[in-house]
Amino acid sequence: MRSMGATQEEYYRGVRMVPYDLVKELALALAGLGLVMIVAAAFLSSPDVGPVTIAAWAQGDPVDFVTTATGELAGSTTSAGYGAPYNTNADGQSWGPIAPQKWFGARIPVDSANAFVIQPLQRAAVGNADLGAAIGQWKGASADQQAKWLDAYGKALPSATVSDGKVTVATGDYGPLPVMMSNLLGVAQAGGLDGLLVINDRFYQTDYTQPLLFMGDGGYLAGLADQAHLTGSQWGMMNETGSYPGQTWLWLYTLWYQVPPFTSDTGFLGLNASNADLGVIILMTVLTVALALVPFIPILRDIPRWVPIHRLIWRRYYATGRPVTRT
């Protein structure tokens, strides 16, 4: 086998070599960068807007909280009808026969109605007879009856009033829903729901799938994100709270979400706003592979020869008539 070491000797044969201190260069770079970073860290610090708790949501916008919880019971929220990997209530995004979301099934099962509303209420019902009776009435009712209560309550919520943090709707036939929702709201405002959504019968917790899905279903957190310019339509994936730089290296990924066909209802070749996530993932995968294969792709590999930037980089070489012999 021909070694790379021998190859380098042959490659540089006849080329004038000059002193070059790599280690010194690295040491200077480390010191210089260290100085810049220390100054930046000391004077600019780093972004750290505190997380939004479910308690803050329930206190800050009780109607949105109750509306979301009601939607969970009705199965009308984003998470309830999401599909894989949380449930099988939708097919998810696809492009022709390409449907990776569906291929792997519900690997992270989440039953939104039970997980976000019924189970926390059952835990909170200990020592609360009224709540226990309301849950019993709800579970004992037929699906049609539940749907009628949910429909009536859902229609009343947009006109709900808030007093002392409590949500009040116009009089109507809502079954046990007002009792259930006022208790859930109370538990949430006290901070209990933040814990109840992550316990899963374990003590140590590191998985926030359920509370994040629940908050994602509501409008409160999304509204705060919109104010901070973090949403997808605001180039949010590369933004950061405040005036800090975010993941600017995601600019190309974020760009596709701002342009057709990924913003269009009709789209192009089956790619449109409804399957934009899948389309952008496929496109970025293709582009990344193409970047890796640039050395083998005609035109892309020839551009550096056509664009004379290399003449600036090696201007001394080209200015001196390409001397390659040793002096």
Binding site: G5, M17, F104, Y208, L221, A292
Partner: protein, 216 residues
């Protein structure tokens, strides 16, 4: 093995030693005077060549500041001014790492740095870029602040649509934190070391259309 490469004066047991063969392979392909040369071709005189070294320096700062943060735990920097300072070092070193990595990438593109048998070095560089983006992404998800929350909620749709979310759950802090502080830094560091060794083993590519250089 060719006669020129066969270890001379060795016993049969030495000749069959995997350890000795590995050492000889390394000595042949990456001799120390190539790994740490004190001289370079005279055309290595542009600032563009410094971008790679600065990227390595930034990565060292990323790792050092990250080690301090991981040692103290994920909540330390929210409640301590010293912790906030070290998070600032981590944050800005990551920003500088990406700035100079992208400059290095563009520099190498316009120098066609993959010429003369260096395509694999370029390809590993692109993989490092992709792995670094994934590492930074898990870092943003591990911050335990508002950004982490919304990035997770927003990003899950893309991950799920691509089928990745079934295995890479951006809403699971434990999984993201573990990947960020352990697995992905090892991957990036290993690839960067391989990238550097490949650069040093082959040496710096000649200028475009230089005598003795090939066209692609």
């Amino acid at each position: 093995m060719s006669a020129a490469n066969s270890p001379e004066g060795m016993s049969p047991s030495d000749a069959s030693s995997w350890t000795l063969r590995t050492r000889k392979f390394v000595e042949r392909n990456v001799p120390m005077d190539h790994l740490l040369p004190q001289r370079q071709p005279y055309y290595v005189g542009s600032w563009v060549y410094v971008f790679g070294v600065i990227t390595i320096a930034a990565l060292i700062w990323v790792v050092v500041s990250g080690v301090v943060l991981s040692f103290m735990g994920p909540q330390w920097w929210h409640a301590s001014s010293v912790g906030r300072f070290f998070n600032g070092l981590h944050f800005w070193s990551v920003q500088l790492f990406f700035i100079f990595m992208v400059l290095h990438l563009w520099g190498q593109y316009f120098m066609a740095g993959w010429r003369d048998g260096r395509a694999a070095t370029w390809m590993i560089g692109v993989v490092i870029f992709a792995a670094s983006i994934l590492t930074a992404f898990t870092g943003y998800l591990s911050q335990q602040n508002f950004d982490s929350q919304f990035i997770a909620i927003n990003a899950k749709d893309a991950m799920n649509a691509g089928g990745i979310g079934a295995f890479f759950n951006v809403l699971n802090f434990g999984q993201m934190y573990g990947l960020h502080v352990m697995l992905l830094p090892i991957v990036v560091t290993f690839l960067v070391v391989a990238h550097i060794v490949m650069v040093r083993a082959r040496g710096v590519v000649k200028p475009i259309d230089a005598e003795g250089g090939t066209r692609s």
